[in-house]
């Protein structure tokens, strides 16, 4: 059996040779901890000496994109926003609050209105109320693909739509278009009794169309993006 008294290996995270540096009796420094939304997090949960807003936000399941991180200094202080890496002080208090919390029925009403306008224009569209919500554009024309004249395309509607933007497109899992239309093939989802594959198509995030604006774009305009996308080159 190895004799730990003579070993140079680590015990409890501290090397034996360093005992003197930890003071009398080899005491360990207290774990660094902070409070986020009044909940305590320490090093075991990811707290460290320097943290970014994103790292702080992720402690409570958010990101720097979805939430605002603030450091607060008193019970009623609403705090100052943390916008970059910050040195963490022991027992520092932070709040991480979603930038927007979305609620209401209007998004369903809006979806139904947009679908109605598509149908009035002659497009066959099916709404899946979910959750998760989705629409299926039925029988879209496919150009330049021998043996395939039309296809269904699934569009998942994100929570918080229309503030949250439409993104990606989904093709039937067996579709010959996968790998031929623009965008990498990613995960799969089962909707309406069929398996669909997600394609990394981002018309409003660098994909050619203007940045997402809920006042200008919607399910009815996304159809135009999809139709362009289906033109196999």
């Amino acid at each position: 059996m190895e004799n730990n008294n003579t070993s140079k290996g680590k015990e409890n995270g501290h090397e034996h040779g360093n005992e003197g540096q930890h003071g009398h009796g080899g005491e360990h420094p207290p774990k660094l901890f902070i409070f986020v939304n009044r909940l305590k997090f320490d090093e075991s949960k990811g707290v460290k000496a320097i943290m970014t807003p994103d790292e702080i936000a992720r402690l409570v399941g958010q990101t720097a994109e979805t939430a605002i991180v603030r450091e607060i200094h008193g019970q009623s202080d609403q705090g100052t926003e943390v916008t970059g890496p910050i040195e963490i002080k022991q027992a520092a208090q932070f709040t991480v609050t979603r930038r927007t919390v979305v609620g209401g029925y209007a998004s369903s009403a809006r979806i139904e209105a947009e679908i109605a306008s598509l149908r009035e224009g002659g497009q066959e569209v099916e709404y899946l109320p979910g959750p998760p919500q989705a629409v299926i554009y039925r029988a879209l024309e496919v150009r330049n693909q021998p043996g395939l004249k039309q296809t269904d395309v699934l569009l998942m509607i994100p929570p918080g739509y229309p503030a949250a933007m439409l993104d990606h497109a989904w093709l039937p899992a067996e579709s010959v278009l996968l790998g031929r239309v623009k965008g990498a093939v990613q995960g799969e989802v089962n909707m309406d009794g069929r398996l669909w594959r997600q394609v990394s198509y981002h018309p409003h995030a660098g994909g050619g169309n203007a940045p997402w604006d809920p006042n200008r774009f919607g399910i009815h305009t996304y159809l135009g993006d999809i139709i362009s996308w289906l033109e196999v080159r």
């Binding site: 019970q75 927007t100 919390v101 609620g103 209401g104 209007a106 009403a109």
Partner: protein
């Protein structure tokens, strides 16, 4: 799914709806709330709306049709409830003509809020309400709450104020009485309608005190086919009660020197002799006992039929802290030289803003304290009073003689039926105009009617802690003395 009631003061309901409908009929709006609650163990029992954390400019995105609460607003609400000790909540509107069932994004919003507010308001529920209107403009409401990792559905909203309005939430069906019961209510149905019968059958009423007024009230409740009746009394039947207590049949009266049956047992037998299908829960206990208090908070109505001062305080605290509709009745006969000179009955309706027992000057603090003393303390004080008299001093600082209130069965029954009239109005919602305070002297010219609207005094607990429920425990006016035995469920 667990269900519970939400109670809200009339003025607050109006304010909340006006705010939520700020962009009606097509666009939605929202406000955060502060709420009170009652829980028993890990079970949430009841909710109240205490106040609004109203939005400021910029707190909601006006560019969208739905609701987008901004970070500053959410954070400010968290800080507000952290300081107040109340429970956080949110109310938003759905457009006119749309159902008030939560949408998928409402689900996401509520999941987030429940988790977010937990750190700022530990151990407290999170409440979410949705308001709307039908195409015809009829108001709709739905709601849910999260507490101790469980979601609760709000199945009834009760608006309490000058009236008591019970609104089953959208989709909730009232249980119809069994056909045999409905057959007995034919005359009632012709005036009140089938929905009233269903409301009575689906109601729970607590009767505190099963003496002269209480027994008459519960007798009437049974004949009205109220489906669930909770009985509370510590006393046993005595021969002297026979003149007043409904159900005190000869075979129940105790032999000399023997203890009679518990009054709640006598009451239960009377109820079941009238309608064996009514659920009766009986306690030898007091409204101050926690288990009984929880049942009172969960009831649709509490009838206070005791003549104790602590009973009045307990009943009125239920009304202002938890917004439980409470009716309290008192009776007394005035006599002078062997003649009855007055037959006085008083009916009180306690509710938010309507003044508690203290606002109405109905509490004698000395007598209340004596009611709650240990038997030893009572004996010590009585002895001290006797000694004071012997010394030529007044006995009052030591002991105040507890008045024996003379009364008669006809008076207690009349008082109870007067209370029942308000009871039917509250439970069925079929009529309004309920008095907040009514006093009659049957022997006075024109019955000496006094009917006054009380208002809560601004510096009274019933104003400061209105709707707070279990929050602000330090502000509770009364609780069960430690020497009392635990209640016995019969």
């Amino acid at each position: 799914m667990n269900t519970l009631k939400l109670r809200i003061a009339e003025e607050m309901m109006s304010k909340m709806r006006t705010l939520a409908e700020a962009r009606y009929p097509e666009q939605e709006w929202a406000t955060y709330l502060e709420c009170g609650w009652h829980s028993s163990g890990d079970r949430l029992s009841a909710l109240t709306v205490v106040g609004l954390v109203e939005p400021r400019v910029g707190d909601l995105n006006v560019e969208v049709e739905h609701v987008e609460l901004q970070e500053t607003y959410t954070l400010r609400t968290a800080m507000t409830v952290e300081k107040s000790g109340l429970a956080p909540g949110v109310v938003h509107s759905h457009p006119k003509g749309f159902r008030v069932t939560p949408s998928p994004i409402d689900d996401d919003m509520d999941r987030y809020h429940a988790q977010y507010f937990a750190g700022f308001a530990p151990g407290r529920p999170y409440v979410s309400l949705i308001l709307g209107r039908t195409c015809e403009g009829v108001p709709l409401i739905s709601g849910r709450a999260h507490f101790q990792d469980r979601w609760y559905e709000i199945d009834e909203v009760v608006i309490v104020g000058s009236e008591v309005l019970r609104n089953p939430v959208e989709g909730r069906k009232l249980p119809a009485p069994p056909p045999s019961i409905a057959a007995r209510m034919e005359r009632f149905l012709s005036g009140f309608g089938a929905q009233s019968a269903a409301r009575l059958w689906g109601s729970t009423v607590m009767v505190v005190g099963c003496g002269g007024t209480g027994s008459a009230a519960l007798h009437s409740l049974a004949r009205s086919n109220v489906g669930r009746i909770i009985l509370v009394d510590t006393d046993r039947l005595e021969n002297s009660n026979a003149e007043r207590i409904h159900g005190a049949f000869e075979n129940f009266l105790p032999a000399p020197g023997k203890a009679g049956p518990p009054k709640v047992e006598v009451a239960r037998k009377l109820i079941h002799a009238i309608n064996s299908k009514i659920e009766v829960i009986a306690f030898e206990g007091n409204l101050l006992h926690d288990e009984i208090r929880t049942l009172a908070i969960e009831s649709d109505l509490v009838l206070g039929c005791t003549d104790s001062h602590h009973g009045r305080v307990a009943a009125s605290e239920l009304a202002f802290r938890y917004f439980v509709p409470v009716l309290q009745v008192n009776v007394t006969m005035e006599t002078k030289q062997d003649r009855v000179t007055g037959q006085v009955l008083q009916l009180n309706r306690y509710g938010p803003g309507l003044g508690c027992a203290y606002c109405r000057s109905q509490v004698n603090a000395v007598l209340l304290s004596q009611e709650l003393m240990t038997p030893e303390e009572r004996d010590n004080r009585k002895n001290a009073a006797e000694q004071a008299v012997l010394r030529g001093e007044k006995p009052d600082p030591y002991w105040t003689r507890e008045p024996i209130i003379p009364t008669v069965g006809s008076l207690t029954t009349l008082a109870a039926e007067l209370m029942m009239n308000s009871t039917l109005g509250i439970l069925t919602g079929r009529y309004s105009g309920l008095a907040q305070f009514l006093e009659l002297d049957l022997l006075a010219v024109d019955l000496g009617v006094i009917s006054v609207p009380f208002r809560s005094k601004p510096d009274c607990s019933c104003t400061s802690f209105a709707g707070h429920g279990d929050a602000s425990e330090a502000g509770r006016l009364i609780s069960a003395p430690g020497h009392w035995s635990t209640p016995k469920k019969r």
